[in-house]
């Protein structure tokens, strides 16, 4: 299982209706008057409607290790505070990443193994193979290509007329970067995004995937495509793309097909939604905070720090789930063996106890790097430096070209409590 089933579906009529009709939805409820035991963060409704923040705040204040006994996805614990999240994230012996890191337990027949959902030692062996492709030494070689592609995308955008930033910039740039990392045929690059979206889709009529079978067929197509690339690259000398690294790596070269696919999809999904939504999130944050945008215009040297602040503010993955391996205690709450424990990064990143003015977007925030969005411990985001580099280069090139990326309507948000992001962001560009 890669990411949860309940994961991403893009907003459309059917998902809107679903969120309104579902008896589990908390949309429109007053976060401070409903009985606290009824607060359920797992339902995507409040995330899509952008109503989640007061629920997180109330739980941090009144019930920071919160048990939700009834939800559409069963019973689970919510860990709300920065320091508690850190403790759970760095105790993999007590809080396991197996069998899955999504709130929803996987269907066995549609499950793919990957190292995000493995404990040591297997996790370490497999991660170590993939690591070098996104390690800073390799990124230095990629910087030139990334900048070229970012410039080309920006140069082709219309100035003075409305367009969708998500489709034309966020998706386009992240897709092109994935193609570079896999040395994937450029003309077929949109398949990567398609497979990523199918992987995280909840099958539903009119959604990204109509049925589980349709979703699974797309994943099979992905496997076949990559199997061909693998067969090509195994015959060549080892290269610096991910497929070649997996095909030649000692710990991965005899990997069963299912595991190869699971790890590929992990890297595709991991490098896709998260960066995409941080690219969009930066535009949203700067428009909501015009004084910070002005600060940026006056001093482009703040871009590096701003990138960390964007990643904190956006928190592109709202949570990661663990499963307790034995009875344990957290803030005097008794957690039982087998219980689901959800670390809400989106809450820890707004924790007043650790962060000064946590709800403010503050591009020169001190210690901006100390956010939870990448997780901590052995599962810490492997692509963190690549993500930061993509965002930094993009903003450097944006500031070379545009005075203002003006948002012209409220963005549409993803229907998911896991992937925190945008499906549409209408903007108008103003040149320098």
């Amino acid at each position: 299982m890669l990411y949860e089933r309940e994961g991403t579906t893009h907003m459309n009529e059917s998902s809107k209706q679903r969120s309104q009709l579902s008896k589990w939805s908390m949309v429109g409820k007053d976060p401070y008057s409903i009985p606290i035991e009824q607060i359920d963060l797992s339902h995507p409704g409040i995330w899509q409607a952008n109503e989640y923040l007061p629920f997180l705040k109330r739980l941090r204040e009144e019930d920071p290790v919160h048990f939700c006994s009834k939800s559409a996805v069963g019973a689970y614990w919510s860990v709300m505070k920065y320091k508690d999240i850190m403790e759970v994230d760095t105790s993999p012996d007590i809080y396991s990443s197996e069998p899955t890191i999504g709130i929803v337990d996987a269907f066995e027949e549609f499950t793919l193994p990957s190292f995000i959902a493995m404990d040591p030692p297997k996790h370490d062996e497999q991660r170590r193979i993939a690591q070098p492709v996104v390690a800073p030494a390799n990124l230095k070689n990629l910087e030139v290509i990334i900048r070229e592609r970012a410039c080309k995308i920006l140069d082709e955008l219309p100035v003075g007329e409305e367009f969708d930033w998500v489709e034309n910039v966020s998706i386009e740039l992240t897709t092109q970067m994935l193609a570079v990392l896999f040395d994937f045929p450029f003309e077929d690059r949109n398949k990567l995004t398609y497979w990523s979206d199918m992987t995280t889709a909840i099958p539903s009529k009119g959604g990204v995937a109509n049925t589980q079978e349709e979703r699974w067929a797309a994943i099979q197509e992905c496997l076949e495509y990559f199997q061909r690339l693998w067969d090509e690259r195994i015959k060549q000398s080892p290269g610096f793309d991910l497929v070649s690294m997996l095909a030649h790596g000692e710990a991965t070269k005899n990997m069963p097909a299912k595991e190869f696919l699971g790890n590929l999809l992990l890297l595709i999904v991991g490098g896709n939604d998260t960066t995409r939504n941080s690219i969009s999130g930066g535009v949203v944050a700067l428009n909501e905070n015009p004084a910070e945008y002005e600060k940026l215009r006056r001093n482009n040297d703040l871009i590096g720090n701003m990138v960390s602040e964007i990643i904190r503010w956006q928190t592109p993955l709202a949570y990661m789930r663990r499963t307790a391996t034995r009875d344990t205690e957290l803030r005097n709450k008794k957690i039982g063996a087998g219980d689901k424990v959800v670390m809400w990064y989106a809450s820890g990143n707004r924790d007043e106890e650790v962060l000064e003015r946590p709800d403010d977007f503050w591009i020169d925030r001190p210690n901006a790097r100390q956010h939870l969005s990448f997780g901590f411990g052995i599962h810490r985001c492997m692509g963190n430096r690549l993500a930061e580099m993509q965002l930094r280069i993009l903003w450097e090139e944006i500031m070379n070209r545009f005075e203002h990326i003006e948002t012209t309507a409220e963005p549409a948000r993803v229907y998911s409590s896991f992937v925190k992001g945008y499906t549409k962001l209408p903007v108008v560009l103003h040149g320098l």
Partner: protein, 106 residues
């Protein structure tokens, strides 16, 4: 005060006076030594304070804990003398310590 020398990847040397009880990470960060990020603030859980310890000092350090080992082992730049600076506490014994920062923090 205890003196620690930090050598950057390009050879630039900086000598810092650190207080006992501090850590090699904190001494660097509070004195503006570049090359150490310390994203997790010193809890051995991000590996962005990776340093290389000069050979002769290795035996004077406390042993690597399993958690530090787990974090270090994920770094592609891991070497025999790799340590996480947040896990080395400054003591009289370490007066004169010499460490090198890597070109990149992972």
């Amino acid at each position: 005060m205890i003196s620690i020398t930090y050598i950057e990847h390009d050879g630039t040397e900086r000598v810092i006076e650190a207080r006992p009880g501090s850590s090699v990470m904190l001494a660097a960060v509070t004195n503006g030594v570049p090359g150490i990020d310390a994203d997790c603030g010193g809890s051995c859980s991000c590996a962005t304070c990776h340093i290389f310890v000069r050979e002769e000092w290795l035996t004077k350090l406390e042993e690597i804990s399993p958690i530090e080992e787990a974090m270090l082992s994920l770094s592609p730049d891991r070497k025999e003398n790799s340590r996480l600076a947040c896990q080395i506490s400054v003591s009289e014994e370490l007066d004169g310590l010499v460490v090198t920062t890597p070109e990149f923090q992972f």
